[in-house]
Every structure is written in C-alpha cells, then in structure tokens.
C-alpha cells in the first residue's frame, strides 16, 4: 500500500502563490490539483469610474514583471475605444520597449527561476560560488534590458513615459546609440546561454494541445494582429470572449479557459508553434541549434522557446533603434478626442496573449472593463498536463515526482498574481 502525498505549498520560483497537490495510493491517483490561492486584488474595482488618463497607471500595477505588457494592452484598448491612431514613431518606440521587457522577463525566468532545477541548486545564489560567470551573465543581460526600458520609458517596472497617445518624453539619441552597441555586444552572452541550455536534461513529455497567439503578416507578433489558433485559424480581436470562455473553479481564485479542446496553451511555445517562420535570422538559427522545431508539444521546452525569443527581441531591438535613428526622433504632440466606445487591446505578454477590453462613456470614464490574462489561460493546460504526466511518473520516489511536477509548472513561467485580478466587471449604478 504505497501512499504518495505531494503537497507543495506556495510553489517557489514562480511569480505568485500556488500549490500543487497530489494524493495517490497504490499507483492510483485520487487527487491532483494545481491550486491558485493568490489573493484577489479586485482590479476591476480599481478601474471602474477612472478617467482614461489614470487607467494605464493602474493597469500597469496588475503585474510587476510584465507591467509594460499590461500598460501597452491597456493603452491600446483605450486608443481603440477613442479611435485614436498612434504615430509611427510611437509604435516603433512601443515595440522597442516591448523587446526590452520580453528580454528581461525571459532572462529572469530562464536563469533565475528555471536554471537552478537543472543545475541542482535551490536558487541562483549558490551558483555565485560554483558558476559565477553564469550568474554575472544573467545579471548583465537583465540589467541591459532594464536599461533599454529606462531609456525609452523612464523606468522598467511600471513605465512612466508610456501613455495613451504617445510618449511623454522622447529618448536621447546618444543613449539609443550607446545601448544599441551594448545590445550588439550581448549576442555572445545569449549564445553562451544557449550553450548552457543545451546541457540541460529536459524531460521528455508530449501532450498535444491547442496553441493560441497573436499573428500578423508583418512581423513575429507582439503588439498587434489577430488571434491565431492552431486548431481554428484566425479570428478578429473582438471575438476573444468566444475563444477564451472563462469559467470559475472552486480550488482557484483564478478563472480557467478553454476553446476547441479541453484546454489551450499560450506563451512562448505557442507563439513559436504558430509564428516561427517570422523569427529573425539569429533566433531561427538558435532554434535549430537548440533542437526546437515547430510544432513542439513538450511544455518543458517553453524556456527554450523563450531563449529563442530573446535572440529575436535583441535583434529586433537593434533594427528598431536603427530605424529610429535614421528617421530621426522628433518631439510629437498628440490630442486624444474622448468619446463613448469600446476598445480591445491585445498584446503578447512574455507569458502569452493578453486582452484588455474597456468600455468608456463620453466623459472618458471607464464603465466596463474586462481583462484576460495569459496565465489564466494556461492554468487549465497546466492542470491537464499534470493529469497526463502524473500517471507516467507515479512510481518514482516522492520527491522526484514533486520535483518534476514543480518543474512542469515552472516551465510555464506562470504569473499568478496577474491571473487572479481581472475578470469581467461593469458598473452597476
């Protein structure tokens, strides 16, 4: 009579609070849950009744890692509601800012949250003794991404100059030139990271699922496009509710989603599976070297896909800086004409597709708000992955089971705090 009890309370090395619970006896699984226990902060209660000029400030605070994603999605929703088209320079700057966040988020995840499992430590800190160059490299790359975001928006976490309509301040040409050089000098560091990843013993596990991401025909989509599904093709943004189909479950303060199958995946691997053709050359090369081919159905490969996207983001950043420098940066003034209306902003946050859906009245006040968070959309997939994986490893020692399940959840890079905060809301008075 072998009892297996796995109870990981407050999983470490993920953003937010979640538990893994597994109870099995004699090889039969009785309970298996991915529990999200994060405190709901009720962001919609914060957004309702706000003037549009404060909205992105508040939306940014949904998440500390992907604040730029939330700000941008929020701003795009607002601009869509008011029928405002940002200038070309603004779009370029936003994409550049995005690359900064993507790079930072993925590096943080790969080095600080995932790598320790593969290097046999509980965190990066002991690695300072044994693999100092690895840690230094990780910190330098992260700092580079932070610095790029600072140059464009004043600050990486909760960006300042980013606002509805454009940028409150234009970066200095000198600063852009300098950081461009630094990014170019960082490619060898990314390559060293790829070398490191090649040595990771990534578990073999496959479970095919539906993949959903943004897609457009100009570039590997981060900020604009339509909703692409590996099962259902392209959909316009305003169809998102029919695709996400959120529902509550008792053991989670976050809602779950499903579309064509019982669950779907968003994030780096989903993007890769749908859009890998549009990756820039270095990224494509890295994918080949890392053995990542589309479509990949192993969620443990998500960090690998993230590293591939790092190459892409860095290369794209250089291209965008070149474009900005050759166009010449200009102070731009913009005027937003407030009107009643509804707008949807969709972006590919580092962890997957993110929707902000706002309805404004003619005074520019939000009367209805809904957000669907990437990790929300992954929770169900995680649950289903666990359900498929657990039986295969149920006869292993308890801590190995625990470790593997933890690594599975970690691979998704869940951003749990985000996912509990935002649901459908409307002003009832």
């Amino acid at each position: 009579m072998t009892e297996v009890k796995v109870n990981v309370h407050y999983l470490t090395r993920v953003e937010g609070h979640g538990n893994i619970v597994l109870n099995a006896s004699n090889g039969k699984i009785e309970e298996l849950r991915w529990e999200v226990t994060e405190s709901p902060r009720l962001f919609e209660a914060m957004l309702l009744g706000r003037h549009y000029s404060d909205v992105s400030q508040i939306a940014s605070r949904i998440c500390g890692i992907c604040s730029i994603a939330h700000s941008t999605a929020s701003i795009q929703a607002t601009e869509a509601a008011f029928n405002f088209r940002p200038s070309e320079q603004t779009v370029l700057l936003r994409r550049l800012l995005y690359d900064a966040e993507l790079l930072e988020s993925h590096i943080l995840h790969v080095y600080f949250l995932v790598a320790p499992d593969y290097l046999g430590t509980g965190s990066v800190f002991p690695l300072i003794e044994t693999h100092k160059d690895v840690v230094v490299r990780a910190i330098r790359l992260k700092k580079l991404a932070y610095r790029l975001a600072e140059i464009i928006a004043g600050r990486k976490t909760h960006p300042i100059a980013l606002m509805a309509g454009g940028f409150a301040r234009i970066p200095e040409t000198g600063d852009l030139k300098n950081i461009r050089q630094e990014i170019v000098e960082a490619f060898p560091e990314l390559e060293a990271t790829a070398e490191l990843l090649k040595n990771f013993k990534i578990p073999e596990f496959t479970r095919e699922t539906e993949y959903i991401a943004l897609k457009n025909d100009r570039e590997y989509a981060f900020l604009s496009g339509q909703i692409a599904s590996s099962d259902a093709g392209l959909s316009p943004l305003d169809n998102y509710l029919n695709i996400t189909n959120e529902f509550c479950v008792p053991h989670s303060t976050a809602k779950y989603t499903r579309n064509k199958r019982e669950s779907y995946m968003v994030g780096a691997l989903a993007r890769f599976n749908l859009n890998s053709e549009q990756l820039l050359p270095r990224a494509k090369k890295a994918a080949v070297e890392l053995g990542l081919n589309a479509p990949c159905h192993n969620p443990f490969m998500i960090p690998v896909a993230q590293l591939v996207e790092c190459f892409h983001a860095a290369e794209e950043a250089v291209d965008i800086i070149d474009a900005l420098l050759s166009r010449g940066l200009r102070e731009e003034s913009f005027e937003i004409k407030v009107k009643a209306g509804r707008g949807i902003g969709a972006v590919e946050a580092p962890r997957g597709i993110l929707f902000h859906d706002y309805t404004y009245n003619d005074g520019g006040i939000i009367i209805k708000a809904n957000c669907v968070i990437p990790t929300n959309q992954n929770h169900n997939n995680i649950q289903k992955d666990m359900e498929a994986l657990a039986p295969a490893i149920i006869n292993k020692p308890e801590d190995e089971i625990s470790q593997t399940l933890e690594m599975l959840v970690r691979a998704y890079d869940p951003c749990i705090s985000c996912s509990t905060h935002v649901l459908k809301a409307r002003i009832t008075k």
Binding site: E15, R41, D54, C63, S123, F125, Y146, I160
Partner: protein, 246 residues
C-alpha cells in the same frame, strides 16, 4: 555573523521584490557578502523560518493574511515594509471605496461566495513596522540604503520633504507650468522626481509627507482647473487609506 534576510509578499504585483534584485553584478555580490538571503520564494526554493530581517511587500486584503503577517512579525527582529502597498496600502485600497460584498459581486458574480476580501490596508495597520521603503515600485537604492543603515546601526536618511525639492534639483520644469497638475508638493521625496523627469507628473505613490498642507495643495489644484471631485480622485489612487482621500 551576517544577518538573515527573508522576503515575503502579500497582495501585490511582486514588482518591488524583483526590482530589489536590479543590481549590478558587483553590487549583488557585495550585497550577498553583507547579508544572507534565507527566504525569497520567488527566486529560491530554499526556505527558512529563522530570519532576523523580514522584507515584506504587499498589502493585507484577506483575513488569512493577517495571521501570516503576525507570525512574520513575531519571528523577525526588524520588519521592512517594501513598496506602496506595504507602506501605505497603495492601489489596493481603491477598492475600499466600495462595500466589500459589492466589490466581490462585481468581480466574481455568482461565484462571489468562494472568495473573501477585507478592506485593504498597509502592514502597519496590523503590526508595527520598523522601516519603510516607499514607492510604486520601491526604489531599490532606497532599499539598499535601509539595509546598509541597519547593518551600520544608523538611521537611514530618508527625505521628509516633498517631491518638489528633488524635482528642482533635477532641473525639471514644474508640471503646473506645463498645463498639468501634480501631487508633488505634498508627497514625500526619495524617488528623484523620476516621473516628472520622464514627462509625467506625480501620482503620490510614496505617500504624503508627515505634515502635508493638503488644504493648500487642494486650493492650488483648484486654481489650476480641477474640481473638488477630481482632486479627491487624484489622491485616491495611492493614498486611499488616508484622510485626504475622503
């Protein structure tokens, strides 16, 4: 003997903790030479209940959080509140303007019964706090300043004066002269007036100075075109937990 430091978070976006690690390699290595991080759920699997200094991010928005915080306070000799949520309640307190049941109903609809929430509050509404590192996000340099001060056994010199001082030191043109309004004159400095330097204005994330002349600030905001309601709305974003936002 290096002091043992543990990081905790409650209802927050975790941005403050992550920014705390935004250091140069030399700085991070020097920091780890000065303290032992024994608990940092977000980046470490190792855990420990034996710590001297607790750095806590996030506000209290649920009954269950109260007990957890009190345990931390019992264990830690020094408690540092990190970020606006922990120091002054921050954004979380915006929901306090609604009755709790209504807020839950708005959010979760018929499933509201699954969830519990209480009016959001800063840490010091529940336990005594020794040091405050304010801001949304908290300034990592200020956290380092506080840690250094604790290690050197001196009082950290955190400004008590308003943002205007740092704004002028940075050579900024006053927000009010640019057709916008700003809470800077009653908000505590320490951020270097970064939001104004980046082209926006002060939203008040670091909280009010000790003796703010809010009457005067409200008069000034009115003079520059805001209605009384608009003024209160402005204060509400970060400072809902104080009188001024009523």
């Amino acid at each position: 003997m290096k002091p043992k430091v543990a990081f905790f978070d409650f209802s927050s976006c975790e941005g403050c903790q992550l920014d705390a690690l935004d250091l140069n390699p030399e700085e991070l290595i020097a920091l780890l030479g000065a303290i032992d991080i024994v608990n940092f759920r977000e980046v470490m699997s190792e855990k420990s209940d034996d710590y001297d200094i607790a750095i806590v991010e996030g506000a209290i928005t649920r009954e269950s959080e109260i007990g957890r915080l009190q345990n931390i306070r019992q264990q830690a000799k020094i408690l540092i509140a990190l970020g606006s949520c922990a120091c002054i309640g921050g954004l979380n307190c915006l929901k306090n303007h609604l009755p709790m049941e209504e807020a839950l109903r708005i959010v979760y609809g018929k499933d509201a019964g699954y969830y519990d929430t209480i009016p959001a509050r800063p840490l010091n509404a529940v336990v005594p706090v020794d040091y405050y590192v304010r801001g949304c996000p908290a300034n990592p340099e200020e956290l380092l300043k506080v840690i250094k001060a604790i290690l050197l056994k001196k009082k950290p010199e955190i400004p008590g004066f308003p943002v205007c001082v740092e704004c002028k030191m940075a050579g900024n043109i006053c927000v009010f002269e640019r057709g916008m309004t700003c809470l800077g004159p009653v908000i505590r400095a320490g951020c270097g007036a970064i939001c104004i330097t980046s082209g926006r204005f002060c939203w008040g994330c670091r909280g009010l100075v000790d003796e703010p002349n809010t009457e005067s600030e409200k008069e000034i905001l009115t003079k520059y075109g805001l209605s009384v309601d608009q003024i209160v709305e402005k204060f509400k974003i970060y400072n809902s937990y104080t009188e001024v936002a009523r």
